[in-house]
């Protein structure tokens, strides 16, 4: 091997990661790092610090930024500038050291970020322009999950106590509607047309299909043991549910309102994400330090990749 080849190889090695930066998967690990995974080469490209006890992650709709919530730093919400690969801001929300069990929702025009934490009764409103905390609204809830309406006017929040399901009006800053429901809820998503809410009841191993306008429960769908996270296809055609204690991803057909497939994954699956064309799903296997990559056409796992310690949730950036 002559010097020319060696230099050539060094150049390739140095430039390779930046090629892969266009799109991929960001996985947050509770141990305090994010993994960037190139989904084309199916390789873990990078590990970036995210703050201790980091649990949730979200990308803004313009796909320029990723936000990560951690529990133990002074500034608990960190913003990663995707293009420049650097932490662009650290936002102080919530006092004291708690688990970074945050829930994020961006307004569809990417101007506002709404933040809840499982251990905080407050709603934090953040300006995306300058990453400033604009407002802290006391809600007196123990939130377990949040979804935003397609017009960005309402937040749907599931609560550990009664009322269990709340619509919060972001214009009036008041609770618009609430309902008491029996169950131990772990996750909420809304259908792309905004008509239906899907709420996971982890103790009953069920997904409740709820009319978003009337809060009427239309159907409950049996899943595996302890459904914990959900992702819905952009066209609303399929709903994917990770089930922590049955080590599986359940595929639900919202038209038939029933499970149509069970896909075995790793140990204690948690976060679920889909790629932009809905051909692949990604599941974080919390107690195995891996993610499962699932081919949704064949409805089976095709790869498993190593991550940092205790991967919790993940987000796909196109």
């Amino acid at each position: 091997m002559n010097i020319k080849t060696i230099i050539f190889l060094i150049i390739i090695a140095a430039t390779a990661p930046s090629f892969a930066q266009a799109k991929g998967l960001y996985v947050v690990n509770e141990s305090g790092t994010i993994n960037f995974i190139d989904t084309l080469s199916e390789m873990v490209v990078k590990e970036i610090p995210s703050g201790s006890s980091s649990i949730n992650i979200a990308a803004d709709p313009s796909n320029r930024y990723i936000v990560i919530g951690n529990g133990e730093e002074k500034e608990k919400v960190w913003v990663l500038d995707i293009q420049n690969e650097r932490i662009a801001a650290k936002i102080p929300v919530m006092k004291g050291k708690k688990a970074g069990f945050f829930f994020f929702a961006f307004s569809k025009n990417s101007t506002r970020l709404f933040v809840l934490n499982r251990y905080s009764p407050e709603l934090y409103v953040i300006s995306v322009d300058d990453w400033r905390l604009l407002k802290t609204i006391p809600l007196n809830l123990a939130p377990e999950g949040m979804a935003i309406s397609s017009d960005s006017r309402f937040l749907y929040i599931i609560n550990r106590a009664f009322p269990a399901l709340i619509i919060f009006n972001l214009d009036t800053e008041k609770v618009e509607k609430s309902a008491n429901m029996e169950g131990t809820f772990s996750s909420i998503v809304n259908s792309p047309d905004g008509k239906v809410l899907y709420v996971a009841d982890k103790s009953a191993s069920k997904i409740l299909v709820i009319d978003a306008a009337t809060f009427e429960v239309l159907k409950d769908i049996v899943t595996g043991t302890e459904p914990v996270d959900m992702a819905i296809a952009k066209d609303g055609r399929f709903l994917y549910v990770s089930c922590r204690f049955s080590y599986s991803l359940i595929v639900i057909d919202p038209l038939e309102m029933k499970a149509v497939a069970n896909i075995p994954v790793g140990i204690h699956p948690w976060g679920v994400a889909l790629n932009s064309d809905g051909t692949e799903a990604y599941v974080a296997n919390y107690n195995e330090n891996t993610i499962s990559i699932i081919n949704l056409k064949e409805k089976r796992e095709i790869y498993r990749l190593p991550t940092g310690k205790f991967p919790t949730r993940l987000v796909y950036v196109p």
């Binding site: 191993s205 043991t225 089930c243 080590y247 595929v251 029933k258 499970a259 497939a261 075995p264």
Partner: protein, 324 residues
């Protein structure tokens, strides 16, 4: 006074006999031990061990409820033990088979309705041995597909259905003639199969794709499917035939399915690696062997809720309910 005591004493005796006769026992095979353990299903207490030999696997009780056949790994011809349930001891070791190699003890036992024949499906040797229970002699050996699993009888006792995991076919054995009357290919890995009570449908577990399949037996077509958990390995019909319980070995759960509407009713978390199941038609209790965690889960089949777990020896595999 004396008469009073005598009367009380006799009452006690009668009463205690009555209690003793109402005992419900669980006979449990432990693959990693060399024995069958007996538990009192009511008090949930361990009673005794019965030595069997290497890797006991499956059990079947004769209709007279006196004899229980147990399969195990054994050596060569010796893979079957017959327990006398009254004495609780091994009564005999039928020496039946020539040309059987020592592999695992994965032999599934089914006794026909008359109690005269025992069907021993050997999952490694890919055949079923048909054994006469009176003399404990081999009548016939029928070659099956690859990795056959437990044979289940139709309600009228005329047909034994055997799923073949790795050749993806379901074999129907005519129990009168002891020959193969039908052979249906399916998509996937059939790990268990059972007839509906009316004999019109067959319930099949597809281990590979996590489905419970509903087959119309007249046409042989799959008419519906219900999603179950990871690696479904065993299914059980409720005594009324309306509910199907599926053991999901790699999801540590049971799927409960309505046998008529094909809807999944609920998911029940059990222990690690559920395998053998039995239901007590008197109490409505369902017992599940948790192979990977040395316990038996007790489930109230009326409410479909777990009641508790009985700790057992390591690797409980299968169980049967025996009334004393």
């Amino acid at each position: 006074m004396f008469l009073k005591i005598l009367l009380t004493a006799s009452f006690i005796i009668i009463f205690s006999i009555d209690i003793a006769s109402a005992n419900t026992l669980l006979y449990v095979t432990h693959e990693s031990k060399e024995r069958v353990s007996v538990y009192n299903a009511d008090s949930e207490k361990f009673i005794k061990n019965i030595s069997i030999g290497e890797s006991p696997f499956h059990l079947a009780m004769l209709p007279d409820k006196k004899l229980i056949a147990v399969s195990h790994k054994g050596a060569g011809a010796d893979y079957l033990k017959i327990i006398d349930s009254v004495s609780g001891k091994v009564k005999l070791t039928p020496s039946i088979i020539v040309g059987r190699y020592k592999k695992t003890g994965e032999v599934y036992l089914t006794i026909d309705n008359s109690g005269k024949k025992l069907y021993a499906v050997d999952s490694n040797m890919n055949y079923v041995d048909i054994i006469e229970t009176g003399k404990w002699k081999l009548i016939k050996r029928v070659m099956l597909g690859i990795q056959p699993k437990k044979g289940m009888l139709s309600s009228d006792g005329s047909t034994l259905v055997i799923p073949n995991l790795n050749s993806s076919n379901i074999i129907f054995l005519d129990v009168l003639k002891d020959n193969i009357s039908r052979n249906i290919k399916i998509n996937g890995q059939p790990s268990a199969a059972a007839f509906s009570h009316d004999g019109k449908r067959l319930f099949i577990l597809d281990k590979e794709n996590s489905f419970l399949l509903f087959m119309d037996l007249q046409s042989g077509n799959i008419i519906g499917k219900a999603v179950v958990g990871n690696e479904p390995v065993n299914l059980l019909l409720s005594p009324d035939g309306n509910t199907i319980y599926v053991a999901n070995y790699a999801s540590n759960s049971l799927s409960v399915i309505n046998a008529k509407t094909m809807d999944v009713i609920t998911n029940i978390a059990v222990g690690i690696q559920p395998f053998g199941m039995a239901v007590d038609d008197k109490t409505g209790r369902l017992y599940v062997c948790n192979y990977g965690e040395a316990s038996i889960s007790i489930i109230d089949a009326k409410t479909n809720k777990g009641i508790r777990k009985i700790p057992t020896d390591a690797a409980p595999t299968n169980l049967i309910i025996v009334r004393e």
